[in-house]
Subunit: 309 residues, 2 copies
Amino acid sequence: MNHTALALALAGLLCTAAMAAPAKAPAKKKTAAEILAASPASDWRALDPDNTLLMELASGQVIIELAPRFAPAHAANIRALAHGGYWDGLAIVRVQDNFVTQWGDPDGEDATKARPLPAGVAAKLPAEFSVPLDRIGKSARFARLPDVDGWAPRSGFAEGFPVAADPKAGKAWLAHCYGMVGAGRGDTVDSSNGTELYVVIGHAPRGLDLNITVVGRVIKGMELLSALPRGAAAMGFYDKPEQRTGIQRVRLLADVPAAERPALQLLKTESGTWTQLLDARRFRGGWFVHSPGHVDVCSAGVPTRPTPP
Amino acid sequence: MNHTALALALAGLLCTAAMAAPAKAPAKKKTAAEILAASPASDWRALDPDNTLLMELASGQVIIELAPRFAPAHAANIRALAHGGYWDGLAIVRVQDNFVTQWGDPDGEDATKARPLPAGVAAKLPAEFSVPLDRIGKSARFARLPDVDGWAPRSGFAEGFPVAADPKAGKAWLAHCYGMVGAGRGDTVDSSNGTELYVVIGHAPRGLDLNITVVGRVIKGMELLSALPRGAAAMGFYDKPEQRTGIQRVRLLADVPAAERPALQLLKTESGTWTQLLDARRFRGGWFVHSPGHVDVCSAGVPTRPTPP
């Protein structure tokens, strides 16, 4: 081989390296569907019967996962409320566009008509707006995002939930992302007890973070809560009782006969599959011509799947 | 006055300063309603008849403002489509939860059935994913937010629209916030012509930014598009034609008799009132016990009001 030929060959090698090995087919980005299809069984978890609510509407079933690590007192109260059939026959009373859908007792403000609390339910709870960062930070459970978040110094996922954190303040909290469920409160911080719940149906109102207790997340049936007619009264409350959507019943999964429980799994947010899915959102292929190089803690929903046979 | 008394008096002054002058009543934060009530007439603008669409559904009226500065070719085509009655009798064909509602010709893919384009409408347009930053940056029109945005080096508002920008790349673009309207495209970047439009109905899918042409914003009637039943087919398309919502007609405001035009004003995003509203969102009072100290370009909707008599 003469020098010219060698130089050309080297140039070719350099060129190949610079162009990410065009000799091979370019590394195709995996789609979300391909990543999920290749996920190991160990990256998935079953529903926890003690922390899952089944809400039945005429239009179908909504499944809500509670977050006892972040709101232990509220989660315990909500469990007791569901166990006691508190919401059965009550209603969705408020749908405010680009904000929240809320349900509870339409007569809750009227002491003579309000539904009594079932046995074991506390009328008053402490505010649970945040938890010590240690509660999630020292475990491997907090999958921190490298991406910047305008609302908090840190963001990421813990046990399936979108989480924000402030290491200086030593606090972590559930982020108000689409589908997150919170406990309505009045003017005092400790005025929620879990009887009145709301779900975020619009662009994440992260300004609510640290102002109210977040208790969980809708993991299935979100469209049954987000597509309801908006209420015409202040804050999206319905002005006529007949506009409300009735709640047939809400049960704790543990109270549902095993054969009737939804056969559903959730992807673990501590898993490699979840990390790959986030990367597939940061660096897009296919239809996309521009990759944002970014994900937001509220822009990625945690997948569910039917439990494999 | 002895030294001890002086020291105590000084300490008192220091203390007062540190505690934000408790001798006076604490400066009450103005609410959004108070800021709007005090806004001067010059902070508001009328609808531009040449850049406003009126969409009529059986459920009511949707008003859309076009953004010709960001998508001039698409805005011109959409004007001609509305002028030619293109959407009259067509339908909303897709509602994907937490993503978009889309409308157009259900038979658009079938050349034998597709509605013909009105006179003056181009079948093919260039992609208008971004504009040179100069187009907005050198004017006073870009009200830049000081808040960090994870999706772009800069964000802010221009002429009522949420905008992101990259000074290094010299580009600015409309951000995919709630209520923003875009022109659906196929696999090629120049395959949109404005006949098929979508509106963002969920958490801002900012990952679409720079991948598709954004043409405007819904300024009224958003709840008529966001509360529709979600489609059961792939990507939220309706699987049965009867599930679609019919569009009675879409007119350019300039084609509507003056007496029938909605008497509506928009707050100018270059105004002091808008700056104050953003601050009221950054630093909350009243019910809020925690202020985020942050706003996101997608977390603040630009107000409208009935035109004062």
